[in-house]
Subunit: 324 residues, 2 copies
């Protein structure tokens, strides 16, 4: 361990450059307010001394904390790998601007303690609206919603539209949607992308909904196996569902991808664990995390101004569960 020699402060730089502390502060925060000559002197001194601003002091003076609270409200008994990627993105985006984060899973701890400069909320359901409204600092949401909150999400509709169009292009005759039985925006959008695309081809949609567990979709396909004609593609609202469908098809001796196809949604971890690996709508999860951080930081800089919504295009990753 290297023990910290004397920390270099604004005063040190000021002395070195023969100016006042304020001039140094201005060079850093409002460089346009200082003459080029002085600016140069100060910048040289900063480099010479390897000055690193003390973010804690800065935070105190600005009445900030430099901390963003990230709430994951969804139940993660299953430890969704999804959130790992998201968190990495968020952490990366925050780190760059000198913010640290506090991870919160307990709703009660969200507004407790040394509150934060802002909040990123994920996995929120309708019943969390009062909680979100009660937050005292700028907040952005991960996941589409129609409550007027600033949010970022994958373009879910586009995702299933891509998948459905691809299934049709690959000449699968029957295209069935396996959805999640929750009344949430993202699910409606995923179904809409499927429905719209089919209707453009004058085909009647077939949707089945169930809990988001591989064994449920597996059981569903098993139970109805004889009803599925050959040349069917299952479009699933999650990779979890897709993996169950895939297993059931294999169990029943169905040929993937010639007679049956499966397309998942998410593209995080599970799709690669499947065998064969899933064709899936891959969400740019880490990028979404970075965008969340960026949006929140900007919102903070603009004293909480509305940021609107941002839908990011997913990518259809073509693999073993659909025809070439």
């Amino acid at each position: 361990m290297i023990e910290g020699a004397h920390m270099v402060t604004l005063s040190d730089v000021a002395k070195q450059a023969n100016v006042s502390k304020m001039t140094v502060s201005r060079v850093i925060n409002h460089p346009e307010q200082v003459t080029p000559e002085l600016k140069q002197l100060v910048e040289d001194a900063i480099i010479a001394l390897n000055y690193q601003p003390n973010s804690v002091a800065k935070a105190l003076a600005n009445n900030r904390t430099n901390v963003i609270k990230v709430a994951i409200l969804e139940d993660i008994d299953t430890t969704e790998p999804y959130y790992m990627s998201l968190l990495f993105g968020v952490a990366k985006g925050l780190d760059r601007k000198g913010y640290a984060l506090q991870l919160v899973t307990d709703r009660a701890r969200l507004s407790v303690g040394n509150v934060a400069d802002g909040f990123i909320v994920t996995g929120a359901r309708s019943e969390d609206i009062p909680l979100i409204d009660s937050l005292s600092q700028p907040t952005v949401i991960f996941g589409e919603n129609h409550n007027g909150y600033d949010f970022i999400d994958t373009d879910n509709k586009e995702g299933t539209a891509l998948a459905t169009a691809y299934a049709l292009a690959k000449s699968y005759q029957s295209v069935i949607f396996i959805g999640i039985d929750v009344k949430e925006s993202f699910e409606y959008s995923r179904e809409a992308g499927y429905i719209n695309t089919l209707q453009q081809h004058k085909i009647v949609p077939k949707i089945h909904r169930m809990g988001n567990h591989s064994h449920q979709s597996q059981a569903f396909v098993n139970d109805n196996w004889r009803k599925f004609a050959r040349n069917t593609c299952f479009i699933c609202a999650s990779d979890r569902l897709a993996i169950g469908v895939e297993r059931a098809i294999i169990q029943n001796g169905g040929n993937i991808p010639n007679d049956f196809a499966v397309i998942g949604f998410d593209g995080v971890f599970l799709d690669q664990v499947a065998n064969p690996q899933l064709t899936t709508v891959k969400q740019p999860v880490q990028k979404l995390g970075e965008l969340l951080a960026r949006m929140l930081i900007q919102k903070i800089a603009q004293s909480g101004a509305q940021q609107g919504e941002l839908l990011v295009s997913p990518e259809l990753v073509k693999r073993g569960t659909t025809r070439n």
Copy 2:
């Protein structure tokens, strides 16, 4: 959004209680130094005003940052769900003590910027030793090592010993170990637990090592299928390997768990995705994270004093891939 009324400070509490700021500060940090009567007065005032200490000011006065950097050095292209649980544990442990965290994956960014009060390092390999040595603040490691660093890990040896003993107790005749071909402490320990237990029963160990990918173990079992007698249990150094073994057995028409058994290691996410679900050595990952936070916080409080090593017992979770 609720805009913060005037923040309650030490001074406010002091005024309310008719004491000096210092007395209030002492009640909070060194309560033994203040008389019971005053202490009571101050505590009442704190409650009456709902005083929350400003951690930023505290940090400045103490020359702290209230930030812990968490380094995940392992390549996580595959987004190991493992780290999600660990991070949750760490975050929970830190949060309770008012620390925030910064997630670092880029080695170069570890010591950059407004450095932290301490470091938690995971996924470190031998080549990272210089990096760890260069850290300027108290550090604890996740993962066993013999370089003298304070660390916390699952008791790997105990884990595979449990698994092996269980396989023998369930009367599997042949017990084969599928290991990971890395020269790391954790792998040696896992192999040792297996070897020791077999030797106690005068049985000769059989170990095969490969990369930690399900398709590699799957290929291995496929390629050698005819060499495996019935009544064989495969003890795997990871759930990833186990899932590949399981798939290969099913592909070859082997009966699980009557003729062939599989025991994994980790117990994070993958074990439940498998079908049938894996019997596995479950690491208490989230708890490990909390312990890491706790150890580091204590180390900081003790000005960096050595904390030693801590091995936590895993649990054998009995499921579908072994006999009842």
